[in-house]
Amino acid sequence: MDTGLLDTIGTAVAVILTLFVFSYLLGDNLLYRLAEHLFVGVAVGYAFVVAFHSVLIARLLDPLVQAVTEGNGGQVLLKLIALLLGGLLLFKPARRLSGPGNLSVAVLIGVGTALAIGGAVLGTLVPQVDASADLTRYVDRYGPGLGLFSGFVVLVGTAGTLLHFYFHRSEEGRLAGLRQRLVSSWGGLGRCFILIAFGAILAVTFLSRLSLLVGRIEFVLDSVRQVLGG
């Protein structure tokens, strides 16, 4: 088919579907539902197609075939195990066969927890502690007075926010009273920082999502202009 025509039809479809979605602003209606279900259907199908090609073919089938032709026994075995684990998962919904499927879930959990632990320790805990402790970081930007003050605010605020989530409430023990007072006062201050963060994030979210709306309006306007102009 003519590519130009396909493009034109495509743009028209895109504009119409965009308007269908925006019709939700007037209330849930037939057009919106149509767009929604079309979208969900396409999204599921597309995700599957991508996974099929980029994972099952590119990461499993192709290397397996390659390993077999090369006679690389170890590689074949490894890929077969992966294939087996993937296949076992498919039996999980069957009540009597769910046992073997648990092996696949176990691998998922093992990998997932390890990645989560690694991420939490190496990606967040260590660098963020390091960053919070740097009192002088803002001096370059805001001058010595406000800069040091800012560094101090970050330190106090970070620690306070952390304490705000304190779970344990107990009056036992020698230090408990002191700890309780510290948690409630410093943690209370931390709550203020959380609220400030919430207010700021709300504003930033608005900016980001407004950009999306502007982008969509621009798209509709451009398409309409194209039709009118050419």
């Binding site: 990606g123 740097d134 900016l207 980001s208 969509r216 309006i217």
Partner: protein, 601 residues
């Protein structure tokens, strides 16, 4: 642990049926600990999790159960009765109680609460209870509990009078709420002020006898304590010192607000009782013995056709937003955004003041030598493409200005498609790049596995990027021949609208391999990205966040002139949107304050 006699599978303690084959474990059943909600095997006297006593003392012989309700299979400690006892059924259909209660609830919902309270008045109320009622009955019923459906509130004050006469209909063991769990193994409830007729031990009602479970012989009966819930019924003045107040259940405590039992807790947890549709089986009704006025009343109520429960009312929205339909706001916003875009020239003159994060990224890219290899991660999809494309266009444009070699990847399934069209557009605008696919830039497609994919990229580029988006093997792509490992890249540019993927690149690639990393992000991720720009090691070389930053960046590229044309119109449009938002917030606040002061006065 219970091992299934049929298939040998180990099942969780207290399981009633095998998890694998569904085999019933017969006598095995379980008890929910009223303290910590753990399921315990029926043999347990104390909870295996928290040590709380779950089986309290069986009833003393003298205190007999009030008119019995059948249909209960309480996991009472076995040994209360014999086989014959169980066959000696008390009057009353097995399933009719939950049914009448539901119909009671349904029919009561239609009627006024106060009137009903008078109707359902029991003939023989204990004095203390009558005093209590007399003092309260005049009060207007008010639905104080937030969010409770009206019919529920209407039911509460009326139904309780039935309680002293009949034990609360109990559920299957699993369904017992806390208050019932506390009651379960103990004596049948009896109001202390009105001792029920004495009865012989053998005539224990059916409901006290486990209906399914086998009976363990040799267990003896112990004197009962007054159950906690009953204790709460007793007026404070009449309580003995040692009768401490029943501990408030950890779960939603239902405090009666109106009617007879105002102030008492957990009198009738209606929710749970009604929550037993399985108990009700139509067509098995046995005519109840109508002897007392209450019973006649109940019979009348049962005879009435059920009314359909009203749907949950939508929460009322206070403020101006409720008055103004949603679409006025919507139309205003769309109009405010569209007008500046329709004008050809900028409304306001602006000067360029790039943020340090932006100029830092601009300098980083400007310093790249010709032919520098850059890995660009298109970690955004159509969700945010309206915003991210603006950011990506200017950054990719700048890279192509600098004659960089671009390897594009994406952690999102839908990312490569966006990358493909954006790269093609930018290549068309840069001389030399038009035919440069494979040599000057490649699109290596989707990297499945999220954080794992980033990690894999660091470990083996070959394994992570076997072929490109169009299915061409990496061996056939000239550019891929130049990059054997991640360290061959001079810069990694992460384009994302999600903080997770930014974090993954920093954690898995930037930090461990010490590669220079820069980010073009959505405004949404800005505060988060700043955190990394600031950390001591400067994990990010620069950040362009959102459309405003991208527009200043493109102004930097064009030589620092003021903003003109489409970028300026976009900013004007954003400004109009922001003004509208601020006005909406202020108006909603004013409306709220006016409303509040009116309510106060």
């Amino acid at each position: 642990m219970i091992y299934c006699p049929k298939c040998g599978t180990a099942n969780r303690d207290g399981s009633k049926f095998c998890n694998e084959c569904g085999e019933s474990f017969g006598s095995q059943t379980r008890i929910k600990c009223p303290n910590c909600d753990t399921w315990n095997p029926v043999q347990n006297v104390f909870c295996s999790a928290c040590g709380h006593r779950i089986v309290s003392l069986p009833p003393k012989p003298g205190v007999e159960a009030p008119p019995a309700i059948k249909g209960l299979s309480l996991p009472v400690k076995p040994g209360i009765g014999t086989e014959e006892d169980r066959s000696a059924a008390t009057p009353g259909g097995e399933e009719d109680i939950p049914a009448w209660l539901r119909e009671l609830e349904a029919s009561l919902s239609a009627e006024g609460a106060a009137g009903k309270a008078a109707l359902t008045e029991p003939a023989e109320v204990p004095d203390w209870l009558r005093d209590l009622r007399d003092s309260l009955v005049g009060e207007p019923p008010e639905v104080a509990e937030e969010g409770l459906p009206d019919r529920l509130a209407a039911l509460r004050p009326t139904a309780p009078p039935a309680q002293p006469a009949a034990p609360p209909p109990a559920a299957e063991e699993e369904e017992l709420p806390d208050w019932l769990a506390a009651l379960r193994p103990t004596a049948p409830p009896a109001p202390p002020a009105a001792p029920p007729p004495a009865a012989e031990e053998e005539e224990l009602p059916d409901w006290l006898v486990p209906s399914e479970e086998g009976l363990a012989e040799g267990e003896t009966l112990v004197r009962a304590e007054i159950p906690d819930w009953l204790l709460t019924l007793k007026p404070r003045e009449l309580r003995k010192e040692e009768e401490v107040e029943a501990p408030t259940p950890a779960k939603e405590a239902v405090v009666e607000e109106t009617g007879l039992l105002a102030g008492l807790q957990d009198i009738l947890p209606v929710e749970i009782i009604i929550a037993q549709p399985r108990l009700a089986k139509a067509g098995e009704e046995i005519a109840p013995v109508i002897e007392t006025p209450q019973a006649r009343l109940f019979a009348q109520i049962v005879a009435r056709p059920p009314t359909v429960a009203s749907k949950v009312m939508p929460r009322p929205q206070a403020g101006l937003l409720a008055l103004l339909p949603r679409w006025i706001l919507s139309i205003a916003l769309i109009a405010a955004l569209t007008l500046p875009l329709l004008l050809d020239r900028p409304l306001l003159a602006r000067t360029i003041e790039p943020a340090p994060t932006v100029s830092s990224l601009y300098e980083t890219i400007s310093r790249l030598g010709s032919g520098a290899r850059v890995l660009v991660a298109f970690d955004y999809d159509p969700t945010t493409s309206s915003e991210m494309d603006v950011v990506a266009q200017t950054l990719i444009g700048h890279l192509m200005d600098r004659q960089a070699r671009i390897v594009a990847v994406s952690l999102l399934p839908a990312g490569p498609a966006s990358a493909a069209s954006l790269l093609a557009d930018q290549a068309a605008a840069h001389p030399g790049y038009e035919e440069g696919y494979g040599r000057l830039y490649v699109n290596m497609g989707y990297l499945p596995g999220q954080v794992a994919a980033v990690r894999l990229l660091g470990e083996s580029l070959e394994m992570a990027l076997p072929c490109d988006f169009y299915g061409t093997s990496r061996a056939d792509l000239e550019l891929m021949g130049q990059v054997k490992e991640l360290q061959d890249f001079d810069l990694i540019l992460e384009l994302t609208a999600g903080q997770d993927s930014l974090r993954w690149w920093i954690e898995q690639v930037g930090t461990p391999y010490g590669l220079p990393l820069a980010a073009g992000v959505s405004a949404l991720v800005e505060p988060f990205a700043r955190a990394y720009y600031q950390t001591g090691s400067q994990q990010l070389k620069g950040v362009v966040a959102g459309v405003p930053d991208a527009l200043t960046y493109s102004a930097l590229r064009s030589g620092g002139e003021g903003l003109t044309g489409i970028p300026a119109a976009r900013l004007d449009s954003q400004l109009a949107g922001h003004l509208l938002f601020i006005v909406a917030i202020l108006v909603s606040n004013v409306a709220y304050l006016v409303q509040r002061s009116r309510r106060e006065s």
